[in-house]
């Protein structure tokens, strides 16, 4: 122990390097306790309250120490503060102290100061800008470790302003011969470029000979920098393509060189660098024949020679596979890559299996046949214990289903559906439906598969599946009897699964006559009477398990049976009872049906006749309907999608009067085909189907990923429809005009429904830069409904050279004053802009 007394006041006690205590002399306050001491003390706390008390006490001491501007112990105090911050306690009062430490001359101070800055400060606070000058000085410090601290801090948390100010210094350091600093400068430059992309150009000269460095640290960070630049700029990418031979050479040396102790990891030389080079090669080779050819050999070499026994080798193989699949590689190489993935699938290490499935998912579209070869292994992964692996195996399985393997695959997938976690069921069910639709070997098989899904995972099936299934069933004409029979039997078993119940009700409503007549070719026909059927349907109406939507289906089904069954009186009774139902939806329907019985009985048969075959839309994928959700107080709005209906025969126009005014028409109604065939009427139907039936459609369970439900609205996106609608002479208005972006609204009245206002937005840009990724969103108050169609484009060209147009349809049944909240997002001059605005200046004619 060494005691050094170097002033009357301070005594320093050394117990060894790094272990030093400075004890105050007799006349001052006791020294603040040491960091380790504090940690020890806090850890003895037995309760949260005790800990909090200790912390508060220490914080008070630290605060007064800060107030005294004590230079000696500032470092220690801030370190303690950082510890307490990690425990979750507030430490904002230490922010300025960090700055003081950074400005200090002592290295220990700077070290803790910068650490504190990185932990306590973030770019949202103005305080952090005060660092800029210190960092600038430290970037030019005589000690490389100080320079290193500055580079590290800047590269970690530098804000755009700081980056702009200090980019020049970083660029300078990027050219230094000191590899310790050069490597840090390279990564710092990456951060600068991420924050301020326009500055990328200034780093270009410094990249000239980065790859000729011998130092691996510099090589690695240089490759990262080059990657960042190539990812951000196609020009840079083209420029750096010439580096491919050099990169190939470096990679080759790494593989061929013998054991290098400094960079060896389990027999592989610098795997980190290898992986980064492979990634950069991927970017450079993509879409470019020459580059791809130049790297062909080395990729083959890496793919075949890398040790696969340890994770590190597999990491390199993984990256190699990704590169092979992305560039224009020859087919032999691609097959090699897929086979590597196939081997990965058999690896004991689940991590390897996981990445294999992920990669296969990416390549299944392009190299379908090669992946098919591994189908059985993939299907086995459905039984894996790990949730992520199961999910990927499921997605991949669906991607591999085709006409040849549909029966076998579906068996496996249905088995999976039975036993999988709830979070998978919705996706799996949707996947099964899609696959079945595409590849069903027979109609009967198709119906059976649907039944199986509905009965086993019925409650998880997505709401949009119901209309799809109904359409499918309608179109399988010869299976109607079989289908309705099976559905009926399923209902007898279980009425809790709403999608199943809805489809079943609908079918019974449509094909109830087949059910009671006992005609069924496919299987043993069941004997059931009309009363029994009506019992079941009425049971649905009263059951607690039925949602309002389901009840709607049931009531309508009962109504339809009035033309198919003989016991009309019973039906009349049921319908009239519900005329006074508390549920507004049911009440409305019942009242309308009653009216049908009483006043329009001559029309009833025609109205309720069998649905015609519905034509499928071109694709089953989502159309471009954009739905917006209201924010906070405006309503949640979504487009409920009815089945695609091509307009069949015309019916009496006066029906429109009867039913047209009421826009609350449920989705699957036989009234749909009876509307006039005019374009405007079509829109009306579909808009009318944006009903409040059943309340807002419940959002799919949170486990469901972000895939869009399939929208099947037909013909809605074609602009010519609107030419039919006479403009009602409503004056246009400017809804928004800020920062060079102007949005005008022009109005049309959707004939014949006066409740619908059709607004076309025209977005124009008077600045000298384009506005890209332009997205317009709108929300309306609860009493309105809104539908947003797809925009003409998402680039608003500069200097008013063109406009982006988009159509909004607003349904305003209560004739309330129209208000709208709009949200605009776009990218302008490299930065993302977002704005919210209220639009209240609608001309009265637009909503009266």
């Amino acid at each position: 122990m060494l005691i050094v007394c170097w002033s009357p006041v301070m005594v320093e006690v050394w117990n060894g390097p790094g272990d030093k205590k400075t004890v105050e002399g007799p006349s001052r306050m006791p020294a603040p306790i040491r960091l380790r001491e504090l940690i020890r003390t806090i850890r003895t706390a037995r309760t949260q309250a005790e800990e909090r008390e200790m912390i508060q006490k220490e914080c008070a001491a630290i605060r007064s120490s800060f107030r005294e501007e004590d230079n000696t112990y500032r470092c220690r105090n801030v370190a303690k503060l950082l510890y307490m911050h990690m425990l979750g306690y507030p430490a904002h009062f230490g922010q300025l102290e960090c700055l003081k430490l950074i400005a200090s001359q002592k290295f220990t101070d700077k070290r803790i100061g910068y650490l504190g800055a990185m932990l306590l400060l973030d770019e949202r606070q103005d305080v952090h800008l005060l660092m800029t000058n210190c960092i600038k000085n430290d970037l030019n410090h005589s000690t490389q470790y100080v320079q290193g601290l500055a580079l590290c801090t800047l590269g970690c948390m530098g804000s755009s302003e700081m980056c702009r100010d200090l980019a020049g210094e970083v660029e300078k350091l990027l050219k230094t011969s000191n590899s310790y600093l050069r490597k840090k400068a390279a990564l710092c430059a990456v951060h600068v470029i991420r924050k301020v992309p326009e500055l990328m150009e200034m780093f270009l000269p410094a990249t000239k000979n980065l790859l000729s460095e011998k130092n691996h640290g510099v090589l690695h960070t240089s490759v990262v920098l080059l990657t960042e630049m190539c990812e951000r700029s196609p020009d840079m990418l083209a420029h750096f393509r010439k580096l491919v031979p050099q990169l190939v050479r470096i990679l080759k040396n790494l593989i061929m060189s013998g054991y290098s102790p400094e960079h060896d990891v389990s027999g592989i030389s610098d795997p980190f660098l290898q992986v980064r080079i492979l990634r950069l090669l991927r970017i450079l080779g993509k879409g470019d024949d020459d580059s791809s050819e130049a790297m062909n050999d080395i990729l083959a070499q890496v793919a075949t020679n890398t040790e696969t026994s340890k994770n590190v080798g597999n990491a390199i193989l993984y990256e190699t596979v990704l590169t092979i699949m992305d560039i224009k590689s020859e087919s032999g190489l691609r097959v090699l890559a897929i086979n590597i993935l196939g081997r990965f699938l058999l690896n004991n290490d689940k991590n390897i299996r996981y990445v294999a499935l992920t990669s296969l998912l990416k390549t299944v579209q392009t190299d379908h046949n090669a992946v098919q070869r591994h189908r059985s292994t993939i299907v086995d992964c459905l039984k894996d214990l790990d949730v992520s692996i199961k999910r990927r195996a499921m997605e991949l399985s669906f991607a591999l289903v085709n006409g040849n393997n549909i029966r076998g695959m579906m068996k496996e997938l249905l088995y999976f559906l039975d036993s999988c976690d709830p979070e998978f069921k919705a996706d799996c069910a949707s996947g099964v439906f899609l696959a079945a639709e595409k590849y069903a070997p027979s109609k009967r098989w198709h119906i059976d598969t649907i039944m199986r899904v509905l009965t086993t995972a019925g409650s998880y099936v997505r709401d949009d599946s119901v209309p799809n299934l109904i359409q499918l069933i309608t179109n399988s004409v010869e299976m109607h009897a079989y289908t309705v029979q099976r559905l009926y039997k399923a209902l007898l078993d279980d009425i809790s699964q709403q999608p199943l119940v809805q489809v079943a009700s609908w079918c019974i409503g449509e094909y109830g006559d087949l059910l009671v007549s006992g005609q069924c070719e496919e299987e043993e026909p069941i004997q059931v009477t009309e009363d029994e059927v009506l019992d079941v349907l009425e049971g649905l109406l009263v059951s607690n398990l039925s949602t309002p939507v389901t009840r709607g289906y049931a009531l309508t089904a009962i109504m339809k049976l009035s033309t198919r069954f003989t016991s009309v009186n019973r039906i009349k009774k049921v319908v009239s009872i519900y005329g006074s139902s508390i549920d507004v939806e049911l009440q409305q329907r019942a009242v309308e049906y009653n009216a049908l019985f009483k006043k329009y009985d001559h029309m009833r048969p025609a109205l309720l006749e069998r649905m015609p075959i519905m034509e499928k839309t071109a694709s089953n994928g989502p159309t471009e309907i954009v739905q917006t959700n209201g924010e906070a107080e405006p309503s949640v709005v979504e487009a409920k999608h009815p089945p695609p209906v091509t307009q069949p025969t015309n019916q009496a126009n006066d029906l429109l009067d009867l039913l047209g005014g009421n826009d609350v028409v449920p989705v699957i109604q036989t009234t749909v085909p009876t509307k006039p065939a005019s374009a405007g009427g079509e829109l009306l139907d579909l808009l009318g189907d944006l009903s409040l039936s059943g309340g807002p459609a419940p959002a799919p369970a949170t486990s469901v990923p972000s895939s869009q439900p399939a929208f099947l609205l037909d013909g809605l996106t074609s602009p010519p429809l609107f030419n039919d609608i006479a403009a009602a002479g409503i004056p246009p208005m400017t809804a928004y005009n800020k920062n060079g972006l102007k949005i005008d609204f022009t109005f049309e009245r959707a004939n014949p429904n006066p409740n619908i206002a059709v607004i076309t937005i025209h977005a124009s840009n008077s600045t000298e830069a384009d506005m890209t990724d332009f997205v317009f969103q709108a929300a309306v108050p609860k009493t309105f409904q809104l539908q947003l169609l797809s925009p003409s484009s998402n680039v608003v060209p500069t200097l008013n050279q063109g406009t982006v147009t988009q159509v909004i349809r607003v349904l305003n049944p209560q004739k309330q004053q129209l208000r709208m909240r709009i949200k605009l997002t776009y990218t302008h001059k490299g930065s993302a802009v977002q704005d919210l605005a209220e639009v209240n200046n609608f001309p009265p004619q637009s909503w009266q």
Partner: protein, 158 residues
């Protein structure tokens, strides 16, 4: 890499390194949720999970979980190697590192991390070089203070 968290099996945070700007509140929320998610994983599960729009790579070493959030284009397997390299560095520095070392010397754990990674990427792939840099930097502070002390000793003698 977007961030790295070290936490114990009881969910106590031992180190947090953020490479993206987020408010304190957001950081706390993310930490809380992620810690919960990772701790709920069973031992047989793989080291990767999808969380929000990020890929999470985690590995347990004794009583400490090392958890990294990487981006879509990042290689999960090599991230495991990054984590392993960091543990090796700590091990070399502290001599058979254990959780207590990181608790009591958290600032050193940060210093080591900052010599290994910068802005979320590896700045040095040689173990030796990272350790050398740390040693030198440690000496830097010592020699500085030593000088300071020595000068003052001389003065007092005089």
């Amino acid at each position: 890499m977007q961030f790295m968290l070290l936490f114990s099996r009881q969910g106590k945070l031992r180190l947090q390194k953020w490479y993206v700007p987020l408010s304190d509140k957001e950081k706390k929320k993310i930490t809380r949720e992620l810690v919960q998610t990772v701790l709920a994983r069973k031992p047989k599960m793989c080291s990767f999970l999808e969380w929000r729009d990020l890929k999470i790579v985690y590995k347990r070493y004794a009583s400490l979980y090392f958890c990294c959030a990487i981006e879509d284009q990042d290689n999960e397997l090599i991230t495991l190697e990054i984590i392993h390299r960091y543990v090796e560095l700590l091990d070399k520095y502290f001599g058979s590192v254990c959780e207590l070392d990181i608790i009591f010397n958290f600032e050193k754990a940060y210093f080591i991390l900052d010599e290994f990674l910068l802005g979320g990427e590896a700045q040095e792939t040689s173990k030796k070089n990272v350790l050398k840099a740390i040693e030198q930097a440690d000496l830097e502070k010592d020699s500085y203070n030593q000088r300071f002390v020595a000068e003052n000793v001389r003065l007092s003698i005089l």
